[in-house]
Amino acid sequence: MERYGLTIAVGIVVGVLARICMLRSDYRHFPGYPHGYVTHISLGFIAASLGAVAVPALVEKEFTAVTFLALAAQQFREIRNMERETLTQLEENELVPRGKDLIEGIARVFESRNYLVIASSLQASFITYFFDVKLAVVSSAVLIWIFMRYLATGHVVGDIADVVPSKPYFGYAGFKTLLMIDEVVIMEVGLEEARKKILKEGLGVIIKPKDDNARATLHKVGQRQAILHTVASLVGTKREVGELEWSPIARKNIDTGEIALFIVPNEPDMEALIQAVKLTPVLESARTTPLESRPGKMAAD
């Protein structure tokens, strides 16, 4: 019985630790507030308990106990819904929305991190029971490191595309009010004052996909919206309620697949803008790999 106590305790501690390690708070990670932490660490605790008790249950030949892992799966789908709902509610009042794809991406991350917690507490209690605590500590440390290094991080736009500076200008095919970046029409700006301000303070970058997979990913509107949201939260935007002239916009060059991004930032710092674009996560829902297929390869050359 004592053996079980230790097994379960180690499992829970490792699981909760894993959840804390994966609870990074950065700009795109929304529980930046204490309540968010409490919620997620508590749920992490539940996940850890589920993982930790699985081994003693199996040793006792209580095979039906495993069924409540199914309950856990149900529980964590609930987390995903909770995240999605919260973010969708907040979306209404965002001047530069996250977009459905980014919300879905964030929600999915929260769900999957709880599965990682179960996995780490399961292995910790397994090793504690069949080997010993010291070995469990070492293996858990390695596992958590692997999770954080490989599973809890994804690709970023910087991996799939080059970002080069550009400048917004007006005039295309005789229309002097069309805002352009490179060869891409961004929007039509009617007010003279607004055009002057955009020329003075606006910034533009071109996001050049490195291959056809990247091109297909950047083609997704949700991915572009995620880039805009990230950029607007990092370098700031002058976008205001009712003032649409300063909206950040990303449009595709239909011939080359490059994305032209326009923004009127708070600080006109090109280097910061490029960095911000590069560290936007590549969304799972937007990630596409046409080059893996035969028609995709044929179309590429």
């Binding site: 002097k176 009010t177 009617g190 007010l191 004052e193 009712g242 909206s247």
Partner: protein, 66 residues
């Protein structure tokens, strides 16, 4: 915020006196004497209506939401 109009609707048209024969129907039409007044009115209306002013470059401005 209650949005009465839907996205893409033309909320108002501001037209120069000499170009007024180019517009009719649908949206409220404001007729102005010169370019300067047109710009001013476009700015005011865009802020009042929370809409964006677009210059059609033929003496006509429209206001619309995106």
């Amino acid at each position: 915020m209650s949005e009465v109009s839907s996205i893409g609707d033309i909320l108002a048209v501001i037209v120069l006196e000499e170009a007024k024969s180019k517009v009719a129907g649908g949206a409220p039409i404001f007729i102005v004497w010169d370019r300067e007044e047109q710009e001013k009115l476009a700015l005011l209306l865009s802020r009042i209506l929370k809409a964006m002013a677009h210059d059609l470059e033929n003496g006509v401005f429209i206001l619309t939401r995106h």
